[in-house]
Symmetry: C4
Subunit: 236 residues, 4 copies
Amino acid sequence: MLEEMKERVCDGNIALAEHDLVIFTWGNLSEIDFDKRVVGIKPSGVSFQELEPKDIVLLDLEGRVLEGSKRSSSDTPTHLEIYRNFPEVKAIVHTHSTHATAFAQAMKEIECFGTTHADHFYGSVPVTRKLKAEEIVNDYEANTGKVIVECLKEKGIDPLEVPACLVANHGPFVFGESAEKAVENAVVLEQVARMNLETLKTNSGVKPIDSALLDKHFLRKHGKNAYYGQPKSQGD
Amino acid sequence: MLEEMKERVCDGNIALAEHDLVIFTWGNLSEIDFDKRVVGIKPSGVSFQELEPKDIVLLDLEGRVLEGSKRSSSDTPTHLEIYRNFPEVKAIVHTHSTHATAFAQAMKEIECFGTTHADHFYGSVPVTRKLKAEEIVNDYEANTGKVIVECLKEKGIDPLEVPACLVANHGPFVFGESAEKAVENAVVLEQVARMNLETLKTNSGVKPIDSALLDKHFLRKHGKNAYYGQPKSQGD
Amino acid sequence: MLEEMKERVCDGNIALAEHDLVIFTWGNLSEIDFDKRVVGIKPSGVSFQELEPKDIVLLDLEGRVLEGSKRSSSDTPTHLEIYRNFPEVKAIVHTHSTHATAFAQAMKEIECFGTTHADHFYGSVPVTRKLKAEEIVNDYEANTGKVIVECLKEKGIDPLEVPACLVANHGPFVFGESAEKAVENAVVLEQVARMNLETLKTNSGVKPIDSALLDKHFLRKHGKNAYYGQPKSQGD
Amino acid sequence: MLEEMKERVCDGNIALAEHDLVIFTWGNLSEIDFDKRVVGIKPSGVSFQELEPKDIVLLDLEGRVLEGSKRSSSDTPTHLEIYRNFPEVKAIVHTHSTHATAFAQAMKEIECFGTTHADHFYGSVPVTRKLKAEEIVNDYEANTGKVIVECLKEKGIDPLEVPACLVANHGPFVFGESAEKAVENAVVLEQVARMNLETLKTNSGVKPIDSALLDKHFLRKHGKNAYYGQPKSQGD
């Protein structure tokens, strides 16, 4: 079971590079087995090209290493903070993908301008407040997790309904109910951010879509009345 | 014959992915045999990589399934509405391609700024009005088709002369006299939208081209006096 | 000798597609043997993927076909007009490459903002005037050549020193002392146009570079005092 | 040892092309063995595709050729000027990469808008003053090196802490403690420049990040208290 987790975490990290979301050693993906209270995460500073399942570091929710000879991603405390607060989140992706990072650097929410966004994110993708100097100097990575949690809770966001949060001056953290889904959401986030910017260039006065359209698109793909895709019984 | 249609529809859908117009399961292509009153369309939520001719769903013009075990694209009612109103349209493509979608999200027509556009679209590519809340809540996909039909008819547009329509807040639907031609038009639409945006960045006051130039370029490639390409008798 | 010309013209046309300067059947390359008064050019509407040397059409400078069973590019009269007026031009490329076409559509010169431009183009890349309605209706393609010639002559431009001209509302025509060089110039033109636009976004008040820098970069690569690259005797 | 240097310099130059930082013969990489006082550099005007270790030219710090039958890069005097002034710089890359060059052409610093930048560059990437006409006419390439040195010294920049400098109207020169690191810094510089431009489009009033965040990200990867990546003893 944990061998399978290491394979999924390894595959998911490699997928980030294949989707051109990360270069060099930037970015990482983790997955949690909440029942076993085990998190699997990318080791720090290892290139995606060289990554193997045996490199994946396993930790408990307090950050104690359970298995693995390498140092875990420097962003590990950020992931753990999110998992501890949102048990529904089963996987987390962090990238510096170009357009999502531009919004994070600009400290602007990604507003919902169309159905591509609404199909995957149930409203604006939020941006955290900036960290204070003292939050940066001590426990920076844990505090990064804390401002994400604070941002989502203050806005009442369900991290599986709006499965991404931009950290101000930094970049996106993306969530999913599985490693595969978190990767997909990270790909979509980058594309939605890119189209959002192009939309603003075409019409700087554009407004977010109406709530009826947002509801329609998000809910036809998610939740109990979804009718997009094949019925689950078909194994699709 | 219908086996050939399923192959063409499958190939056309795969071509959308190869031309980078779609990612994941976004987008779809259908074709109609108007004499037989049969429409072939992509199944819902199936990835382009895994698509096979046997997956293509065959329906009549009222949406009754004639053949196929999978659920058809959730956009099926949109396609059928267009086919019912424009018998000259033999194939329809829907994508969320980046720049065409930006115009749809911005609710701006794609004006004709040059001969690349004029070679394929005989004037501005229109954008529909927004759907009303009640049109979204009930029969959303059929109503999407209805606003496309309304838009084209109000503007007196022949969907083979201007073979695309942007749905507000959503993305492009593209038409063709064949599946292959509809794919080509979708590729050109994306490129024309991209160049249109770059043109506006270079000169925000640019005006559409003169009608003489629009006529020249469209009509040297289309209609009975066309002289672009090889004579048809050469099989080119 | 003419077989070699057909191979070079075929290779040059294929190179346009490989460099992502053309899609589908857009664009074309021709070469002239001025002594023999023979022009080789791409056939009309044939895809770059399928092009073979035997498809290349050979014509004289008045446009009479000397060899080849296919119809020559619809832009043939444009090429011939340029060759008749500028005997130093040995090859011509026409593309609808994205950023160069954006400048043509915007009817803006591509000013020289840096040494990349100055290494290949000895000053601004000019844009023609718009064609008049009567020039479009009759002999459109020949008149396109005439406005290019008019533009270069009025500005006193040597087409090997500034080896490109943007046709208003249309796209670039690019020149070279050989087919290979014309392709290279077309690649550089697109990159220079792209960087020019990014430069303007970074600083909308940017000015063209000083003439001393323009002279230095152009003349260290071109003309009798060039010192860039390997000495010719080394066959480099 | 010098054979190994020629291999590293050859590989580094080829990597520039593989990372899409250079096209044709634009750009070059050199490395220095400061103890032996030998610099290895790309030959002038040779394409990256054809480059072999035996083509690399070896020179002393005064520019006298020690080994190699080809003419060295025309930018050689620029590289030597930098090496003579900054012994800590062990490798130099010069490219015309799209977005970094746009900033150089626009004569704008690349300000630090996020942690991607801060992970690699400890503050703004500076831009030199323009060269004067007399500096261009005589000893242009050496004077290019001199304005880089002047720029870094006036601003008190350590070229391994901010390992790049934009030459006004020209493009970036990038530094590293090894050839491999200089290539990496050139890739990151282009990506940071691209994200910087997208950030400004999203929010034209964005400010550089706080010094606490800059310190945190740069110093967790560089210097004696770095904790990013694997411990050196692990050979990672």
